[in-house]
């Protein structure tokens, strides 16, 4: 048996925060991390949103770090009592939480040594063996330990941390996609799409209707890491849609009158 020539590089994201679960904050980090992973050829396989509860964070981090190449976390690394992510990740790895000299230096460079209060110093605590993730926005660093990358919850800070991380992660085969515009309802193309999906198991075909939009519009998306399979399946989807358009007298570029 040959090894898989392009083993999948996978990831999970753990979003930590009562404010997301209460609805007070509308999360933007899931979409940003998803785009980041897709751009790097990393398959984001799972997201969990958990509360600011140590046992919940430990359980979620341990469940996903065993399964995926990378784990990202967002939230809970500020200076206040409700910021318990560093404690929880140290507990998940069974290591001590230590004040990092490097992180303390970063905070002192930004705020001056006098102004690095015990609360600010809380942001310099890193599990033993961890390395820092820098960010240019707030100075307070995140950290990486094992395959787990711990980032801030504030979107601008999180994005700056992803920039720092990007150069240190390696992606896999990049997922490619093609979309075909379809101006008949998805029920009309469902049987044909399923046959194309079955004939091209190395692709994944999705159907995304836009509800409430008239004329009817459905975007059909073919995804694959194999460019030849992608092209072949997308051509078949295009032919199917052209056939259905012709049956309903929808000419290219013309709107569906129903």
């Amino acid at each position: 048996m040959n090894p898989d020539p392009s083993p999948e590089v996978s990831a999970a994201l753990v979003v930590i925060g009562d404010e997301v679960l209460s609805g007070r904050t509308k999360d933007k980090n899931i979409g940003t991390v998803a785009d980041f992973c897709t751009d790097l050829g990393i398959a984001l396989k799972e997201v969990r949103v958990v509360s600011d509860d140590r046992a919940e964070i430990v359980a979620a981090v341990n469940a996903v770090r065993a399964r995926y190449t990378y784990v990202f976390t967002t939230g809970g690394i500020g200076p206040t009592h409700d910021d318990i992510t560093a404690d929880a990740v140290a507990a998940a790895f069974g290591v001590e939480l230590e004040v990092s000299d490097e992180a303390r230096q970063i905070l002192e460079d930004r705020y001056g040594s006098v102004d690095v209060s015990p609360a600010r110093l809380r942001m310099a605590r890193v599990p033993a063996g961890g390395t820092l993730i820098r960010n240019s926005v707030s100075a307070a660093p995140g950290f990486s330990i094992g395959n787990v990358h711990v980032m801030a919850g504030v979107p601008k800070v999180m994005e700056a941390m992803l920039e720092d991380l990007a150069t240190r992660l390696h992606g896999g085969a990049k997922m490619l996609s093609r979309s075909v515009d379809c101006r008949v309802g998805e029920s009309v193309v469902a049987a044909g799409l399923e046959a194309i999906q079955n004939a091209h198991p190395k692709t994944k075909i999705g159907s995304y209707p836009q509800i409430g939009r008239l004329p009817v519009y459905t975007q059909l998306v073919v995804r694959s890491t194999d460019p030849d399979e992608l092209a072949a399946a997308a051509a078949e989807v295009k032919a199917l849609v052209d056939e259905m358009h012709a049956k309903k007298n929808i000419k290219p570029g013309e709107d569906n009158p129903t």
Copy 2:
């Protein structure tokens, strides 16, 4: 031992969709379901986003339905081959998936019996023992089985289904909140906040700094189901903030000059 006078009513949400994990679609349903739960006095405790993979959906649904009062799912209930949520939820419950006469009737009423193709009929399949969740937008129903409520992924359709569900769910003690505007950095109030949190264990105090905004601004949020505890803790937080504002010569209503 007396029973807990207001046992917590809890919930989890399972978002099903490759398009969310790839970044192609930016999820809006998490925020909507979070607000819905908070309004009803239901504590949303966990969210999982999983791919269009039967085993993943079964595992996620079974993990959360054992733990929480309610489970909501969004996505994967359309007419195409990639819509496998109904199959997966039936498998999770170990029951057959059947075409529901009631759901078929709803589709026929909307589309006419001739136009209810095998693909559309796929949307009438409900696990044995399930009941329908109606929606006014697309007609295709969701369903409830046990404590699991299966809804569409398209936000407008999902919202219509929540409207239908709302009358059938019972909430618990409603979570109340008060927020205090703080114009010093969260590091400055961290020690005081922690002391207040420790003195009021029936509240949960969160600190939400706005990065990139000057003057410095942090929103401190106290939450509790107990109105007296809420008022007491919020008053202490307000006093703490007033004291810190006075120390930094920030007068009420005046912007922090740093």
